[in-house]
């Protein structure tokens, strides 16, 4: 290694080491540990006893067997697909729609409007979930049922979350979508604010409507942000579970059709009764593989590599 390279290496190491350390500590080691635990008999948090209890592919075989024979497991996989798919669409397109809507109004009301959409994200998960628990409760104590009954729309309360599969799915998608949509809104708002105002003004002068400006100018210029939000939200939704956990725990939504693979992993590892961390780790590894494949496909389809090209200009 010549002197210049050595200096470059030292400088790079200095600047990158905190990040590398973080990645190793919080990503790499947990990943390796999860894979390792999936090959052990680990349960009930008993690290001392089971950490060296290597059982090979036993947990994966058990998982596969359950996938073949357990009706609940099939519901879990189906719920994962529907939940991630639909909530992703809501989060990405909803975020974009909100950002575009606030783009065309003056800053003050736009900020207040955006703040409103951030409220669910700012509320503690338990409080936020409790609000929807009482709102969608399947008896007359549920706000929605109570309103509809008072209006004479229904005569009997509707067990929203227990109507399978779409009742349960609708609630978990609605509750999570309401939280997730603000993320896309912020990213898209920021992106829209970066677009030179002259383009919009010129289009306005030429008589373009808000819709035409959005379609022809704004959306094409936020393509990379779109890609980022889509990938990020996909991976995030695949692993999200806290709201779902509470809604299922409180019996608001049907357990089979309110449980995604991420929640299944959590319940298997830390749920009631026997806590089977080995089996949960195997399911988590599969979840990670799905995440990696899904993320890769998204990036490939939307041609991520083009964004990574060096921009033209002086360097």
């Amino acid at each position: 290694m010549n002197k210049i390279n050595k200096e470059k290496f030292t400088a790079l190491s200095f600047f990158l080491s905190p990040m590398l350390l973080m990645v190793v500590l919080f990503y790499l080691i947990p990943l390796i540990m999860t894979v390792y635990i999936s090959f052990t008999q680990m349960r009930n948090w008993n690290v001392e006893r089971y950490l060296k209890d290597f059982v090979g592919l036993y947990n994966y075989e058990r998982l596969f067997y359950m996938f073949q024979h357990d009706p609940t497991f099939k519901a879990v996989l189906l719920t994962t697909i529907v939940f991630v798919g639909i909530t992703l669409i809501i989060n990405v397109f909803g975020g974009l729609a909100l950002a575009l809507a606030t783009f065309f109004i003056s800053e003050k009301p736009a900020s207040s409007f955006r703040l409103l959409w951030l409220l669910p994200r700012m509320s503690p998960i338990a409080v936020y979930s409790l609000v929807w628990y009482y709102f969608f409760h399947g008896s007359e104590i549920g706000t929605l049922n109570s309103i509809l009954m008072k209006l004479g729309v229904i005569s009997q309360p509707i067990p929203w979350g227990q109507t399978v599969p779409w009742g349960a799915w609708s609630i978990i998608i609605f509750v999570n979508g309401l939280v997730g949509v603000s993320f896309g809104m912020i990213v898209f708002t920021s992106a829209l604010n970066q677009i030179p105002r002259e383009l919009v003004i010129a289009a306005r002068v030429d008589g373009a409507s808000a819709w035409e400006i959005s379609r022809k100018i704004l959306i094409p210029l936020t393509k990379w942000h779109f890609l980022y939000v889509l990938t990020w939200q996909f991976l995030s939704l695949l692993t999200t579970y806290p709201h779902l956990f509470l809604l299922v725990q409180w019996d608001l939504v049907n357990r089979d059709y309110g449980t995604t693979l991420a929640l299944y992993v959590f319940n298997t590892a830390f749920g009631r009764g026997e806590q089977d961390q080995g089996l949960a780790a195997a399911a988590a590894v599969i979840l990670s593989i799905i995440g990696v494949i899904g993320g890769f496909v998204t990036l490939k389809v939307l041609q991520f590599e083009k964004m990574m090209k060096r921009p033209r200009g002086d360097f």
């Binding site: 948090w45 067997y65 830390f270 009631r272 026997e274």
Partner: protein, 541 residues
């Protein structure tokens, strides 16, 4: 070379001295701990332990107590606080300058959540030194080495152990070893609203006897529930728990003569005929509108209890602790019931037999004082004095089981006493009066924390209730203490929910249970499916 040799010798010498020091200290500790032998004389043992601690320079012993359950059962942790005070008094009286300090009384409503928290924190050494929870979790905790095997200590305290009801001591064992002491137990009566019963002509005075003799079965419960509903006397015929099927609903299996465990094989059992009959009863009640189809997702505080205390149902499957919970929680139009109201409005019987020829039942879920296998770890010289700390912890649960502490818990929480001496005490009017006025020798913290509950619950009516339901223990069953039982109970709950909602017929639900058991290789290995769905079985008969 010479210098090197000198250095080597010096290092060796240093190593020998260092290891000598470390080893020497350990040996002294072991010897000191070894001096204490439990004799069964409580004061003598406490004094001996106090002296060892004092000799080792320990002036304060820290312990924490974790408990869970209904709001009135706080003695599950304050019993430990009181035990500490009583031991401290013995030490003070004997001039021993050591004190037990309870650092944390962690009490939560859900016993399942408390168990989860204990599981995750025990390996980190952050779980409570004392843990009061259902015996159902004891096998797993014992199996994982998370709780202390107290068999050898208990041998010295045979006289105390013998005062506990034997079945409860059995519930505190796993593979023949004792892992805790019973803290309380209960029965699960069938409550009957007297006012609703009067409207439809159901004689509640003779009912307990009829149930006892097996004359009044679940077919009769159905008949009267239907009558109550159809006559407009009540909105519902029957109300029962939500959530887990364990333990209230599991009673149906025993009521239909079924079983849950095979002692010969050590496996859990899905007794198909009994489970089918149970699910059929649930299905029939729900289909005929006598039991809410969505009861498994009802809200405890806003729906289940208010429906019962406001007289909107004829029957309710509940627990003895409901009796005082209704008095201390605001379930009745925003207030608690008065003892006189509970007595006036509710009759109670055993859980009736499933059908003629079967026997009535009840089910108990004893709570157990368990000691963390790392108890005392937050104290100095833990490694050397581990045995001493463990012995002290054992003596604390012996003290926390004092008849008066156990009796206080029973009266204020409507759980049944676990010791014969405590059972005698709750019948003593003078003692009850002293408790009512808190004129008892108790720690001020304990008094403060139970003051309101005592005000609301201590009276002859509640004591009489406990005395009246005590006979139910003769009919009691325990769900199996098996590590896989919670998983099976969870599947039963799913099946009950599905038949209640009409998503499955009872037959489909039985097949669902079998399918779920067989889908998990580990569960399949631990569960036997016995018998077949009975043909031409009818309900009501």
């Amino acid at each position: 070379m010479k210098a090197k040799a000198v250095w080597l010798v010096a290092i060796l010498l240093l190593g020998v001295i260092a290891s000598g020091c470390i080893g020497g200290e350990k040996e002294t500790g072991t010897q000191t701990a070894g001096k204490v032998q439990l004799t069964g004389d409580f004061t003598k043992d406490v004094v001996a332990i106090g002296k060892v601690l004092e000799q080792n320079g320990i002036s304060e012993v820290k312990f924490s107590a974790w408990g869970s359950g209904d709001p009135n059962s706080v003695m599950r942790v304050y019993g430990i606080v009181e035990a500490a005070r009583r031991i401290n008094k013995i030490w003070a009286d004997n001039g021993i300058k050591v004190k037990i300090v309870i650092t944390d009384t962690h009490y939560v409503a859900s016993f399942q959540d408390a168990y989860k928290e204990y599981l995750s924190k025990q390996p980190l050494g952050q779980a409570g030194d004392f843990f009061v929870n259902s015996y159902a979790f004891l096998p797993t905790l014992a199996d994982e080495g998370y709780i202390l095997d107290i068999t050898d200590y208990a041998n010295a305290y045979k006289s105390v152990i013998d005062d506990f009801y034997p079945s409860l001591i059995e519930a505190s064992k796993y593979k023949g070893r004792l892992y805790g002491l019973p803290q309380d137990t209960e029965a699960r009566p069938l409550y009957v609203r007297k006012d609703v019963a009067a409207k439809i002509g159901l004689d509640v005075n003779t009912l307990p006897e009829k149930v006892k003799s097996g004359e009044f079965t679940w077919s009769d419960v159905y008949y009267w529930a239907k009558k109550a509903k159809e006559s407009g006397a009540a909105e519902w015929g029957l109300i029962h728990r939500k959530g887990s099927a364990h333990p209230d609903l599991i009673q149906f299996i025993f009521a239909f003569g079924g079983k849950l465990y095979d002692p010969n094989t050590g496996k859990l059992v899905v007794d198909v005929p009994a489970v089918y009959k149970w699910l059929y009863v649930e299905w029939k009640f729900a289909q005929d509108g006598l039991l809410p189809k969505d009861i498994m997702s009802w809200d405890w505080a806003k729906q289940i209890h208010p429906t019962i205390v406001e007289g909107k149902t004829l029957f309710d499957i509940g627990g003895t602790w409901y009796w005082t919970e209704w008095q201390t929680k605001q379930y009745y139009h925003g207030r608690g019931l008065k003892p006189e109201e509970v007595k006036e409005w509710f009759a109670y019987t055993l859980f009736p037999a499933g059908e003629k020829g079967d026997k009535p039942v009840t089910l108990s879920q004893p709570f157990i004082w368990m000691i963390n296998s790392k108890a005392g770890a937050q104290n100095p010289k833990y490694d050397e004095l581990k045995d001493v700390y463990h012995m002290l912890a054992f003596l604390m649960i012996i003290k926390a089981s004092d008849p008066d502490i156990n009796a206080i818990h029973s009266v204020i929480s409507a759980h049944l006493p676990v010791r014969k001496e405590a059972a005698k005490l709750i019948k003593d009017e003078k003692w009850l009066n002293d408790l009512k006025n808190l004129n008892l020798d108790l720690d001020p913290t304990v008094k403060d924390n139970i003051k309101n509950i005592v005000q609301a619950t201590v009276n002859p009516i509640n004591a009489q209730f406990l005395a009246d339901v005590s006979y139910m223990l003769e009919y009691t069953h325990l769900a199996p203490a098996h590590p896989k039982y919670p998983a099976l109970a969870d599947i039963f709950k799913e099946a009950v929910d599905k038949v209640l909602r009409g998503e499955m017929t009872p037959e489909d639900a039985v097949n669902y249970i079998i399918q779920k058991v067989n889908a998990d290789p580990e569960l399949k290995e631990n569960v036997e499916i016995q018998g077949e769905i009975p043909k031409n079985w009818k309900f009501p008969q």
